[in-house]
Symmetry: C2
Subunit: 489 residues, 2 copies
C-alpha cells in the first residue's frame, strides 16, 4: 500500500548559510549527494555555499568531496563526483552585511540562466541561531525572493530560547517568508521510526482501540546520550537539556504518540492534531514544578573547559507530563533526556494496564508484567511488544517474552538518513515533518514555566556519569508508584 507521490523535486538552488560549518559537512552535503546519487534530485539542482571563509567554487567543491567521503553512507567516486562537483558553487561574504546578498543575487541569476533552476530557492540556515532573523530579513530586503520561483526557508533549532523570543523569531521570519515557506527542521522527525509511529498507529486497527487512558497505564519517552557536552559548551551553557532536547524532540515524540488521528496524511492535518495535544499538556504552576520535574547535572560538568565554574545549566531533565483531554486524562507521560547517561538510546515505551483479573493465582496479579510496546528510534530502529506466555512444562508459569520487529532485519540496511528525507521533503514542498510556528510556541509554553522557576534559584541535582540521572528523577516516578524502565538495548 503506498501513497505515491512525485519523488523528484523541481530544479532549484539550495543556498546554505554557514557552509563552512560542521552541519554542512556532516549532514547537509552528504544528504544532497545521496539524493542526487539515488536520482531523487533533478540534474539542474545547484548547491550554493556561503560563509565568511574565502573559498573559490573549486576549493569549496574539493572540501565537500572530502567531507562526503568521510560522512556519507554512499561514497563518491571520480565518476559520481564529476557530476555532483559541478553542481557546487560558493559565494563568500558576511551574512550580516548587504554586499553578500548582491553577490548571491548575481550568482543565482547566472545559475538560473545556465542551469535552469527557475528562480526556485531553498534557503538553508546552517548558522548560529542568532543570525536566522537577520539573514532572513536580508534575503527579503535584497529582493532575493522576487524571482518568480518558489522560496523555502529552512531553519535549524533552537527556535528561540523561550516563548517570547520564539514569537519574535517567527514574526521576523514571516516578514518575508509566509509560514508556508518556513521549514523548521527537527531531525528526529526525519527518522524512519518516528514516521513509522504514525503508520503503526493508523495503519493497524488493533492499536487505536486500546490507545487511551482505559488501557494505557503510562508512557515513558527517553532520549539518552552517553556523550558529554564536548565542544558545544558555549551554546550548551545558554541552553541546557530542557531547551536543547525536551522542548523539541521530547515534546514532538509525545505529540506523535498522543495525537488524535488526523483527517489526512498532510502537513496541516497532522500538525493541527499535534498542536491540539500540546495545547492539552498541563502547564505546571511554580509550586508544582518541584514534584514533577527533575533537573540534573553530571559530575564534572563544571570542570569542562568553557563551562562556568558554578554553572547551574542542567545536563539532565525529567518531566512528568499530563495531557488533559478525554483520551489521556490521568495517564502520565514521563519524559527524560540527558548527557552522560548509561546508553545512547531513544525510545518510547508504552505500558499497558495490568490484567484486571488473573486466573492463575490470586496473589500473582502484581507479579505478572504488563504488556509494553517499545518503539526504538535509535539505535536499532524497531518495534517490540512484550507479552506474557506460558513457559513449556507442566506448571502454568507465565514468562514475559518479546515479539520483535527490527527495521534492519525487515528491510535491510541503508535506511536513508533523516536529513535526506527532510531535504527532499523541503524541495518537494512537503512540510509534514517540519514544525509549524504554533507547535513551537505551544512547546515553549510548556517549557517556559519550568525554565523561569529554575531561574529563581536552586541548582540541578548532581548525578554520576553513566547513571540514569539524579535521585530526583527516580523520586518523580516513585511518587506515582512507578519506576523508570531500563531501555531495551
Amino acid at each position: 500500500m503506498a501513497m505515491r507521490r512525485r519523488l523528484t523535486s523541481e530544479p532549484c538552488a539550495v543556498v546554505i548559510f554557514g557552509a563552512s560549518g560542521d552541519l554542512t559537512s556532516r549532514k547537509l552535503v552528504p544528504a544532497l549527494h545521496n539524493l542526487q546519487a539515488e536520482g531523487l534530485m533533478p540534474k539542474e539542482t545547484a548547491i550554493v555555499g556561503t560563509s565568511r571563509t574565502k573559498f573559490t567554487d573549486k576549493q569549496f567543491g574539493s572540501r565537500l568531496r572530502k567531507t562526503v567521503t568521510e560522512h556519507s553512507r554512499i561514497k563518491p567516486t571520480d565518476a559520481s563526483w564529476s557530476t555532483f562537483g559541478r553542481d557546487v558553487y560558493y559565494v563568500p561574504g558576511d551574512a550580516t552585511g548587504d554586499e553578500l546578498y548582491q553577490d548571491l543575487k548575481a550568482k543565482l541569476e547566472t545559475i538560473d540562466e545556465e542551469r535552469g533552476t527557475r528562480g526556485n530557492r531553498v534557503w538553508y540556515m546552517s548558522t548560529l541561531p542568532q543570525f536566522f532573523s537577520t539573514i532572513a530579513q536580508n534575503i527579503g530586503k535584497a529582493g532575493l525572493c522576487d524571482t518568480g520561483g518558489w522560496q523555502r526557508l529552512v531553519v535549524e533549532k533552537p527556535f528561540g530560547s523561550d516563548l517570547e523570543s520564539a514569537r519574535e523569531l517567527n514574526a521576523s521570519l514571516n516578514a518575508y517568508f509566509p509560514e508556508k515557506q518556513v521549514f523548521r527542521i527537527d531531525h528526529y522527525l526525519g527518522k524512519e521510526t518516528v514516521q513509522n509511529l504514525l503508520v503503526f498507529r493508523f495503519a493497524n486497527a488493533i492499536f487505536e482501540p486500546i490507545w487511551n487512558r482505559r488501557y494505557i497505564n503510562q508512557v515513558q519517552i527517553t532520549v539518552a546520550e552517553t556523550l558529554g557536552v564536548e565542544e558545544r559548551t558555549e551554546f550548551y551553557e545558554q541552553t541546557g537539556a530542557l531547551r536543547d532536547v525536551a522542548q523539541n524532540h521530547l515534546l514532538q515524540l509525545l505529540a506523535l504518540v498522543a495525537m488524535e488521528p488526523p483527517v489526512a496524511w498532510d502537513a496541516d492535518a497532522i500538525r493541527d492534531q499535534k498542536v491540539q495535544v500540546l495545547k492539552a499538556v498541563r502547564r505546571w504552576t511554580p509550586s508544582e514544578i518541584g514534584g514533577v520535574v527533575s533537573r540534573g547535572q553530571y559530575d564534572g560538568y563544571e570542570r569542562v573547559p568553557g563551562v562556568h565554574s558554578h554553572s547551574s545549566t542542567e545536563t539532565f531533565v525529567a518531566i512528568k507530563a499530563l495531557i488533559d483531554n478525554w483520551r489521556w486524562a490521568g495517564v502520565p507521560f514521563y519524559l527524560r533526556t540527558g548527557k552522560r547517561l548509561p546508553s545512547a538510546t531513544t525510545e518510547i515505551a508504552i505500558e499497558f494496564q495490568r490484567v484486571p483479573h488473573l486466573l492463575f493465582a490470586k496473589t500473582a496479579v502484581e507479579e505478572l508484567e504488563p504488556n509494553v510496546l517499545i518503539i526504538r528510534i535509535q539505535p536499532d530502529e524497531g518495534i517490540s511488544m512484550t507479552f506474557g506466555t506460558k513457559v513449556p512444562g507442566p506448571e502454568v508459569n507465565v514468562r514475559t517474552v518479546d515479539m520483535e520487529f527490527d527495521y534492519e532485519t525487515g528491510f535491510g540496511s541503508g535506511t536513508p538518513e533523516a536529513y535526506e528525507r527532510l531535504l527532499l521533503d523541503c524541495m518537494l514542498g512537503d512540510a509534514t515533518l517540519f514544525a509549524r510556528s504554533d507547535e513551537i510556541e505551544q512547546a515553549w509554553e510548556i517549557v517556559d514555566p519550568i525554565q523561569r522557576h529554575w531561574g529563581q534559584g536552586g541548582r540541578p541535582g548532581p548525578y554520576r556519569r553513566g547513571s540514569w540521572g539524579p535521585p530526583s528523577a527516580d523520586d518523580l516516578v516513585r511518587g506515582d508508584g512507578r519506576r523508570w524502565r531500563e531501555p531495551s538495548r
Copy 2:
C-alpha cells in the same frame, strides 16, 4: 509468575489396555518413561500392560525398551532402564472376558503390596473404541475399583460416533466411574501452544479488549495433514474427517479461542466456559448445510487398499461456524481439516478488522492488509502478529511485516510432548485439559446434523492431492467475500 502445584503424583499403577498396540509403543510408554526420567513420577509407580498377545513381564519390558528408544525424546540408557524396566508388568488376556480381570486383580494387589501403589489406578483405554464401554464395565464389575485408592479412567477418542452413541458411552463409563474420574484425552489439548492460548488471552491485558466482534473480522482454524489414510482405513472408513478431527480438535480449538474468561484456572471453571461457547455455536439446518459445509475426498482415496470402491467417506471438511452470543455474533469461524493437503500445519489465524479510515490514500483501505494474529500449534509452535509498517524511504509505503515469537527460540527445544503433560495431569487428578461429557455431547450436537445430511446422499467433492481441498471449500469463504489464508509456514 507461576501457579505452583505439586508436580509429583501419588504412587499408582497405570494399567494399559491395548498394550501391544501402536499408541502404547509410540506415545504412552515413551511419555511415562520421560516423566520418570524427569523425576515427575514417584518411584513406586507401576506400569501394567495387558492385551491378548502373550508376553511375560520381561518380554514386554524388552519390547518397550525398543519402542522407547525409537520414539522417545529422551533415550533410555542401561542405567535408566534398570529402573524403568523394573516398573513394567504384563498381564495377557481377553478384555471382553472375566478371567483377565481376576488375573489383573491378583497382579495389582501384589504390586500394591510390593511397591506401595496404595490401590491408586490409572485405567488407560488404548484399545479400539468399541471396547471402551465393556472394559470399563468389566473393571467395575470385577471390583477392581474397590481398592480404597483413587481410580481414573482414561479414554481416547473417538468418544462415540454421534450424539446418541456418545451419550450411551458416557452413561456406561459413568456407571462405575463417576464423571470426575473420567479423563477423555484429546492430545491437542496437551500441546503447549494450545495451553498458551489461554495464557496469551488472559495474561495479556491488550488482547481481551479487542477480542470480540467489534475488532475481529474472522477466525480460521486449520488442521492440515499431508499424509493420506495409510493403514487406518477400517477405522477411517467408518469415521471420516468430520468425526475424526472436526468434532474434537477443531471444535476444541474454537472453544479455547472463543470462550469467555473463566473465573479460575481449574478444570470445571474452564470447561464450563467451553461448554457455553459450544452451546452458542449455531446448529445448521439441513437446508443450510450445503452453503456452510464443504466435503471433500482426495483423488485416489478409493484406490487405497481397504477403502470401499465407491466410498463416500470424506477426507476433507470445512465448516463455517457462527457463535450466537454477544461477543461473537456475526464473526465467522472457518474450520477446515483434511488429509493430503499441501502442508502438515495446525494453526489458528485471527484476523482483525480493517482500519476504519486510512490516512494515506483514499483508495488504499482495501489494499492494506488487516492485522492477523497467528497461533501456530504445529510445527514450530509459536505466535506471530502481522502489522503494517512504513517501508523506509521518502514515500509513505506500508508493508505488512511479522512480529514473531517462536517457542523453540524463546525457550529452547525439548518441549515435553502432549502425552507427557496429559498423563502427568491425569496422575495428579487435574482434568483441566481433558474433555468433559457435556463438551463432547455439545460437539456432537454441532456435528450430527451435518453427518445426517450427508447420509442422505451426495458425495464428497474430489480434490487433487496436495491442494487445499475441493472447490466447495473456496466457495464457502468466497460467498462471504473472503479467502482462506495460506498457513504461515
